[in-house]
Amino acid sequence: MDDTLATPLSPGAATVPPRKHPRRRTRVFAALRRVLVAPGFVLAIWVANLLAAKLLAGPGRAAARAGMRDWTWFDDGHRIRAVVELLADEPAIAAAISSSVVSAAVVAGIFSLLAAPAILTRLDGQRSLAWIVGAVGRELPAMLVQTGYSLVIRAVCLGLAGACAAGLGPRALPLILLLVSFPVLALDRARAAVVLDDARPYHPMTMLRAVGHVALRPLWWLSGTVIETLKLGVVIAALLLLIEAGPSPISIWVARAAGLAAVILSLWRVALAVEDRGANAP
């Protein structure tokens, strides 16, 4: 394992010209180290996630409570029946819950756009808050454009994943995960190129180079896929555990802890792109 970081993690690191890599090795654990040395940053994102989730789930929680009025459900052996009856008789609850999940996706999308420069800058070692916040302002239009390009790649990959699923069924899961992760990794790379390597911010070649970059680095692609799969696994497991445990004050905190794990894993994936900075820069 290479325990030296691609760029120094000291304040003002962004002012140091990026070092060109003689080799294009994917340093997975060095990328993780970039995340672990920024605990405050990680916690801040997690807390923001917690607050947003709490806020977004408020209407659903309130609707469910209002739906039950003064009654309560004591029978643990017939809980599914009770939930179905409640949702069937009070469709506002299902509407509120689905709207909160959709809202969460929208918030996540906006957060992804806004926070990407800040995350990349911070993972690159920059600790100056002003610089980090400034990066958000500077790079927002470029993030929008690159994200737009990535949607095309995403559509193609999702189409291929859908075809695999239709043709092979559950056996295609590994292939689907590889295909679904690919546009995410390519977008990470394109954003890193723009924010850290001064790549052309609005040019489609930046995204295309990122696509080629990921495609030619199987270890990166595979690592990113594994990290994304882990993240998916963690959040799904937490959700399943919460359902399995039934009403319990502890299980929601398990889900919240899983949220922290998801944040760390996401940052780790982004850090793979930071770790590879300088590659294919214009």
Binding site: L56, R61, H78, V83, L86, A96, A104, L168
Partner: protein, 755 residues
């Protein structure tokens, strides 16, 4: 290594990885295609269509009304059946008839404006009739071969030496029935022998019968005579969307000419096979004391075999689903074990389970004598700890086999009283599950949370079950109202199982065993079932004491009244906990008039009175002195204390239960007190609401119908509550759980997509 050389190295590496994955997946996906279809050791064809009399019991001669001899040829390309049918019908009634109505069920699929299609609008259970793939049956000739004044032994197999007398016949205004006019009436005890020629074209299957590719399911495929009833006359109903079938018992000798590579299953047993021509085979089937004959043919069937107490169980299954055969066989055996114990012996020697191929799902889930079609078990990719279920496929097998009793053996009029078959069968299906897996077992288990048989019935009744009464003819149900399924199947089961729970199960089980004994081969009606239930469960006045010994305070369940409400009323019972709480216990503080004959309290000295009045005037309160006829009890010191802070013996708990619909029936109410004790009471459910008082006891919570005995009550969320003044009641768990799930899902989306 140069940059280009490095890239050149990486490209094949990436390619190799990708190809490796694809190859691994591809081999997994396609690896099974070359496998030979499995075969299973066959169990020989039973020699007799019926089980021995010592097992099945005596079949009353009166039940034997009509025999058929059919010679049919399948044109597998045109999907047509060309047949000659001879029918010997006996008039078992005291009536005399000069016309014979026959069902032409297949004409339901002849045109868009048939009664069936007008209701169905081309769709049945989510399956649609393919464009221009209509089906029909056309009768080209009807002849009278014999009219016997007595009941001689008629040999239908013998070709008549003389051509019969041509008869006048014609389809009725609705083409699912036709009428044959006889030259002279058939009197009581007489019989007639008719010969018909017919052609049946099968529709592309979407509703029980038809073809799909090489698969041919021939159900309701030949002209079939109606039922002559002593009181009501001919029963030959128009075939409608919800009306199924009704026919008399008899023997069938059926010859089927099919392609030689087709695997055939049919009602009864196969007693012969010959090869009439190249590429064809002619199979001879015999069925005894059945009221219908169905068959299925498909070259792709794999035969799977099993046996239960001398009954041969044959499955005709598609290769793709052959691994499920053992599960269906197990379900079939469980159903046989439960139903034989409850409803008497299964009389026939064979049962054939047919699995329709993919694309022919419309054929699935239908019963015929000694043969039924089931559905496939859902292929879930989820591990068992996430999702377990014993409903898809398995329930269909249990349900369709159950019809062998209610439709096949009892043979009630499904058009007049569909609930007596479908509903009672659904009831029996639940009991199969209970007998096999214990009381109210799960049918689906999601992450350890069970959905039980009772839950499933309740959820099925949430919408639509209170839109129609149960006991009405099939054509009274409006498909647009969407009530038929919930009312006829689940609501009937709920009526019956609620009664079973309320009466302590054994009396109901006894009643059903008696009903089954009376109903075998007897075309029972609902009145018979109700009478047996009332007699077995109720006392001499048809009542069941829920609480008490018959004296004052006894809570009665009037069984007939319950059945009247349940079967002939649309409403479902729905109870609601209107209030649970505590209030200050009633004391005797204040002024009371001294009762006549009781000594007056001693009057205080005038000086004391004056002082008290003066003090009262000074501080502005009423003096504690009243007229001589009144006496005053002290107001307790905790008069202004909140109820929650009072000692338990100073409060009076109360529980108010309300009835939200017109359905009146008794219900249990469980009350839990502050000291942890639990008390179960019974409310007779007659008034709009009722209050239970508990002086000197603090109520903490209450639950209406805590044992979920009232399956008929679909909505139970309003059945339980904490007392309003309960000290620190926990947060409502269900809504909290939903809120937590919502938050966790939002968190997963944020954490998953946000970066």
């Amino acid at each position: 290594m140069s940059r280009s050389a490095a890239r050149a190295c990486r490209t094949p590496r990436a390619l190799a990885l990708g190809l490796g994955i694809v190859a691994a997946l591809g081999s997994g996906a396609l690896g099974c295609d070359d496998a030979e279809p499995p075969s299973f050791p066959a169990i020989p064809e039973p020699e007799q269509a019926l089980r021995p009399e010592s097992v099945r019991g005596v079949i009353p001669e009166q039940a034997h009304v009509v025999d058929y001899w059919i010679d049919a040829r399948l044109d597998e390309r045109a999907h047509e059946i060309h047949g000659t049918l001879r029918m010997a019908w006996r008039n078992r009634t005291a009536r005399s008839v000069d016309r014979l109505p026959l069902h032409l069920y297949m004409n339901a699929f002849r045109a868009e404006d048939s009664a069936w299609m007008a209701d169905a609008r081309g769709s049945h259970r989510g399956q649609n009739l393919a464009r221009d793939r209509w089906g029909f049956v056309d009768v080209s000739r009807v002849s009278l071969l014999a009219h016997n004044p007595a009941q001689p032994r008629i040999v239908l197999e013998q070709t008549p030496s003389q051509p019969g007398v041509p008869l006048r016949f014609g389809e009725d205004a609705e083409p699912s029935t036709m009428t044959v006019t006889l030259p002279e009436p058939v009197g009581a005890g007489e019989s007639v022998v008719l010969e018909l020629e017919f052609t049946t074209r099968l529709p592309q299957v979407f509703a029980r019968t038809g073809y799909y590719g090489d698969f041919h399911m021939a159900g309701q495929w030949f002209p079939k005579i109606g039922v002559l009833e002593e009181q009501a006359g001919w029963q030959a109903h128009t075939f409608g969307l919800f009306s199924e079938f009704y026919a008399d018992f008899g023997d069938y000798e059926v010859f089927l000419d099919v392609p030689s590579d087709y695997v055939v299953g049919a009602t009864g047993v196969r007693v012969g096979e010959e090869a009439p021509s190249e590429g064809r085979k002619r199979l001879h089937y015999r069925a005894q004391m059945v009221h219908d004959f169905a068959w299925v043919a498909d070259p792709n069937f794999i035969e799977h075999w099993g046996e239960y107490e001398g009954i041969r169980i044959r499955q005709l299954i598609q290769p793709k689903f052959v691994d499920d055969a053992d599960t269906h066989l197990e379900a079939q055996k469980l159903a046989l074990a439960s139903m034989e114990a409850r409803f008497g012996s299964y009389p026939w020697s064979t049962i054939t389970i047919v699995h329709a191929p993919e694309g022919a799902g419309g054929a699935g889930g239908m019963e015929y004598p000694t043969l039924y079609t089931t559905s496939n078990i859902a292929d879930s990719p989820l591990p068992a700890w996430v999702l377990r279920e014993r409903i898809t496929g398995v329930f269909t097998t249990v349900h369709e086999f159950g019809h062998q009793y209610f439709q096949g053996l009892f043979a009630s009029n499904e058009h007049a009283q569909p609930w007596l078959d479908e509903g009672m069968n659904t009831t029996a299906n639940q009991l199969v599950y209970w007998d096999a897996y214990g009381d109210d077992p799960w049918v689906v288990e999601l992450l350890g949370h069970p959905l039980t048989t009772k839950d499933l019935i309740a959820l099925s009744m949430l919408f639509g079950a209170d839109r129609d009464p149960i006991d009405q003819p099939a054509d009274r149900f409006d498909p647009v109202v969407e009530s038929y399924g919930a009312v006829t199947y689940q609501k009937t089961a709920a009526v019956m199982l609620t009664l079973r729970e309320l009466c302590g199960r054994a009396p109901w089980d006894r009643a059903m065993a008696r009903y089954a004994a009376l109903a075998r081969f007897a075309h029972p009606n609902g009145a018979l079932l109700e009478r047996v239930l009332v007699e077995e469960i109720g006392d001499e006045r048809g009542r069941l004491a829920m609480v008490g010994d018959g004296g004052p305070g006894t809570v009665w369940l009037d069984v007939q009244d319950y059945l009247d409400q349940g079967l002939r009323g649309a409403a479902l019972p729905d109870f609601r906990l209107l209030a649970v709480g505590n209030r200050r216990a009633l004391g005797d503080a204040g002024w009371h008039r001294v009762a006549e004959g009781e000594p007056l309290p001693p009057e205080p000295p005038q000086a004391v009175i004056a002082t008290q009045r003066a003090l009262a005037g000074l501080f502005g309160y009423a003096p504690p002195i009243g007229p001589s006829g009144l006496t005053r009890s002290e107001t307790p010191g905790d008069w202004n204390t909140k109820v929650a802070a009072l000692d338990d013996d100073r409060v009076e708990g109360f529980v108010v239960v309300g009835r939200r619909t017109s359905f009146r029936m008794p219900v249990e109410v469980l009350v839990e007190f502050g000291d942890g004790e639990r008390l179960t009471l019974v409310w007779d459910g007659q008034a709009d609401h009722h209050r239970f008082d508990f002086p000197g006891r603090r109520v903490t919570k209450a639950i209406v119908d805590p044992r979920m005995q009232v399956l008929l009550e679909a909505r139970k969320l309003d059945n339980a509550a904490w007392a309003k003044d309960a000290a620190d009641p926990p947060a409502e768990p269900l809504s909290g759980w939903l809120g937590d799930m919502d938050e966790a899902a939002a968190l997963a989306v944020l954490g998953g997509l946000g970066i």
